[in-house]
Amino acid sequence: MKIRTRLFIGFGVLIILLFAIAGVGINRFSELRSDVDEVYRDRYERVSNATSARLSMNEMAKHIANILNQGGSIRVEEELAHLSERKANTERTLSRLSDLSNDSPREQSLSLAASRDWTNFSNYVVELHELIDQNDLKGAVQLRAEVGLGYQNALQESLLQLSNYHEQQMDAALDQINEANQRMLFLTGSMTGVALFLGVAVVLWLIRSISGGLGEMSALVASISNGRYRADDIPPPPARPDEFDEIAIAFHEMMRDLSIRREKERELTLRLEEEGWHSASLAHMLELLQASSESNEAAQLFASEVVPLIGAAYGAVYLLRPDADAGQGGQAADARTPRFLERSGAYAFEATEERGFRLGEGWVGQCALDRKEMRVTGLPPGYVTLGSGTGQTEPVDLLLVPILHEGELIGVFEAAALRPYAERETRLAEKLVEVLGASVSRIRSRKRIEELLHVSQTLAEELQTQSEELQHQSEELLTQQEELRISNGRLEQQLRIIEEKKGELEENQRVLEQQKRELALSSQYKTEFLANMSHELRTPLNSMLILSQLLSENKEGNLSARQREYAETIHTSGGDLLRLIDDILDLSKVESGKMEVHPDAVSLADLTDHLRQLFAPLAAKNGVDYRVDLAPSVPPMLYTDAQRLQQILKNLLGNAFKFTPQGSVTLLVSAAIPPGESSEATAAPSIAFEVKDTGIGISAEKQGLIFEAFRQADGTTGRRYGGTGLGLSISLEMARLLGGSIRLHSEPGKGSAFTLTIPQYREELAPADLAFLEQAHREAAPAGELETRSVSNAPAHPGPPAPSIQEHETVEGEEARLETSRFAGKSILLVDDDIRNVFALSSFLESCGMTVTFAENGLEALEQLRANPAFDLVLMDIMMPEMDGYEAMRRIREQPAFAELPIIALTAKAMREDRARCMENGASDYMAKPIDTAQLVKLLNVWLYK
């Protein structure tokens, strides 16, 4: 029975008992009360009425007595009133009593008796009363005595009897009540006792049944907590289970679920653990294999790692040897000769065992062929023995796993264990083998890619060498072609020339002779002209000099001091002019190559003596120390042109005295090694003539001008420096003619030192050298355009090089002129709107033999090109009206015919971007404005080169 039901029943019983007891009690009490009520209402009233009737009657008797006894006194009246009153009272009481009387026969009889007596008595009283009223006392007394007293007593007696009867009746009723009360008390007490007993029983029953279920529960819980609980021990549930049973059932169910779940959890944990182990192993393996770059290395690593990992005692990795000729009928090759599975990694292997298997050979080969995992348990004794130094053992479980990757067979993994494999171990082996397959496959494909890359690199290099060789060969071919072409042309030309020459030879010879004669004549004319002119100039000048000197002497004494001074000035100026004329003559000789060198043996002692004597007077006059020293190391004789040497030294000394107001002038002659050739054994020793003064000196910038004076003799410089510059220039040129040089060392304010260095030729060689020297400039001279070369270049052979700046410029200038030979007959389109530029450029280009067509803007240029597409080159200005150079170049380049037409952009801007823009728009090259002719010539050479 359910606890709820039990509780309902238990407490229901208790409540019913309680109500029963209460109901009985209330019933009894209400019964008691109605009994008491009846007693009081019925009996007690009757008793009291009977009693009061008796008392009233007694009172009446007393009052009668009193009246009679007193006889006629005043009080009779009063007594009579009382008596009447009493009589009414008694009558009332009696009537009430009769009203109350029930049907009890005794009571009726008693009441009847009482009422008859009362009637007698009351009649008596009335008679009496009448008697008294008639003052018949004696009759009254007699009456009383005769009947009254009897009546009185009878009434008294019946009333007493009635009262007694009622008293008896009341007592009986009271006794009845008491008895009923006693019964009720007993009934209540016994009922309470029963209820109490039943209540205790119900409580005990409830307590027992609840605490029993709880005890069972707590025992169950305790059995779980102390681990003795077993789901199997669950008793079958009762047919009508109570709550505790239900709880127990639910609990058991819960426990069953719990244990199932726990079981699952345990399995899961195991699986997780296995997976963890697997994935850790896999990760480790993957990492290991990642590092290896050779498949054998990977296989060995795998064997060493995996065999102990899966609890095997020995194992090997066999890799399928890659097909050498895979791709070209590989299938057919497979069919003929099964491919080889090579043992690439091993663990605890005996050295004597097989190196590998063919496909299908043995378990390994079979496993590879089937591509299925194989498990051989219960290996026969002696299948394989594993040994160490201490003993031998035999494995019992053999596992063979094919190594596959993306369906491709890579190899087979074999491992034998001394005990049967656990499932997780074989599973791990399978997974690891997959990793190995992937790794080996990866290594192989990487190798293949590397190999291919390598091959492609090699091929690229090979290609490069071939292309370079081709380029080289074409270069060679081009050079050869060029050479051939040139030599061919030359040959043809030569042939033609030879033929022509042959015919013209005599004519030429004749012409040559004629020319030679003419040349000699013209040269003679020139010399004569110069000589004549100098003569013509000298003659009047001489007269002027003589006359002015005569005038200045003032022999006749008729000139003023001032006039004499004028004459002296004329004389001095004339002298200057004469020297100037001489210089010019010398200069023209040098220039025309007419200056002749007459080498001869010169005694240095004689030379110095002469110079000492020559300038001693001037030194004395100027008050300047003058010394001429001849160093002892100097050879006595020098082979050179004495006259020129003297002329140079005179010039230098003259200058020195001119610019030395005080101090000293020294000429030092010593042996010197020419500069620049010091190390060469062939260098001739030189003689240095150093003219040193303590004069005003020459500043650094002027030093350059002195040496360049010759080139600028006809310019402003010449005039500014007067004759001096010319003299020095001539000296320099003459020094060069002699194969020597002049160097200057000077500091302003401290003086100057001019050093003339003349090579000291050996006598037997010198004439030849000098003869060559003479010839060199004689040949060069008639060429005209090379006039400067004769001076600057010729001495370069025997002597030190002329100042390099001069030579460089000369050569460059000359080449610039020379290299315009390529330009003849070329046609140029000049596009520019600046008429000055057009004029300058076109006159220059035309002077080079080119045809120049002019266009004022881009549009015109395009028209010109359309009209005449045969232009060799375009010079394109950028900033022009109508259409600028950029657009013009773009338009030109758009036409395929002009894709290769050289266009040189002329830009006034020097910005790099601007130039880049020129190039972007199709210019072949560019030039900055203003146009430098030399640069233009270079560019034309490059871009007109065919």
Partner: protein, 285 residues
């Protein structure tokens, strides 16, 4: 077992004989003249040798051997033929552009700059670099070591002469290479040649040096070795790369030819490519 895919060349008996002849010729040249061509790339070498044989109208390699071993002039001619001197000014202009951008800032910080043109041939590259350095204001501080095994090439390189017919291409190259001046400023024209200003080569040292047999002679900030290694086989390439590595200062730059690569050599890890397409590498370890 090897993972290499290797396809051996099929050799006819005739070719085998020719291989032997070539081996003998090279051995002979090495022992007689000291020039070591033994590790040159075989196919190119074969072609060059045959080129020479055809030029001399000879029947076989052995006949060339006879001539070469007995006649030093023939040897000189053979060297001329074996050393392919293909070069251009500002060849691969993008490389020079990259050079300006990447290498010049590095060089600008150096007090003295040493650059080696290994295998300079006829010196066009030296001139190009001199112009570049001049424009970057670095030429005064720079010393350009230009070496080649071919004396004739060096002789030509010293002159600074460029045939006029090449100048158009070179002008284009110069401009593409990011030249900041006017190319025509650097040369004058003489006959069929452009004569480059001698000042450009003032700091250049031209010297004979054989990459195969000679050792490192200085430490350089930049080494140009372009289209030289392609004539060598792998072993020799490695050997020369070692020489280059030893001669290059840390953080220095190495310029290779367009088709050349530092990959597959022993020193590939020591360099970092500056750019995927141009063969300019920086030595990083």
């Amino acid at each position: 077992m090897t993972d290499r895919l290797y396809t051996p060349r099929l050799v006819t008996p005739q070719e085998e004989v020719e291989d032997i002849e070539i081996d003998l010729l090279l051995e002979g040249i090495f022992r007689v003249y000291g020039y070591d061509f033994r590790d040159y790339a075989a196919s190119s070498l074969r072609r060059r040798i045959w080129h020479r044989i055809h030029a001399l109208r000879l029947p076989s390699v052995s006949s060339l051997q006879d001539k070469v071993l007995h006649d030093p002039m023939e040897m000189k001619a053979l060297i001329g033929s074996l050393s392919v001197s293909v070069t251009e000014m500002f060849r691969d202009p993008e490389l020079f552009q990259l050079f300006r951008k990447e290498v010049v800032p590095y060089l600008a910080a150096l007090p003295q700059i040493r650059i080696w043109h290994a295998g300079c041939s006829t010196g066009e590259e030296v001139l190009s670099l001199a112009i570049l350095l001049h424009e970057e204001g670095l030429l005064d501080r720079a010393r350009l070591y230009a070496t080649d095994m071919n004396e004739d090439s060096l002789e030509q390189a010293r002159k600074g002469l460029i045939p006029l017919r090449k100048m158009r291409d070179y002008t284009r190259n110069y401009l593409t290479a990011g030249g900041s001046g006017e190319f025509s400023e650097y040369y004058t024209v003489k006959s069929d040649y452009a004569v480059f200003q001698p000042e450009l080569l003032q700091n250049a040292v031209f010297a004979q040096h054989n990459l195969v047999t000679d050792q490192s002679f200085n430490e350089f900030h930049v080494i140009f070795c372009r289209n030289v290694l392609i004539y060598f086989n792998k072993e020799l390439q490695d050997q020369v790369h070692r020489l280059i590595y030893e001669s290059l200062s840390l953080k220095g730059y190495l310029a290779l030819g367009n088709r050349e690569s530092i990959n597959f050599t022993h020193h590939s890890d020591s360099y970092q490519p500056l750019n995927a397409s141009e063969r300019l590498y920086r030595k990083i370890r």
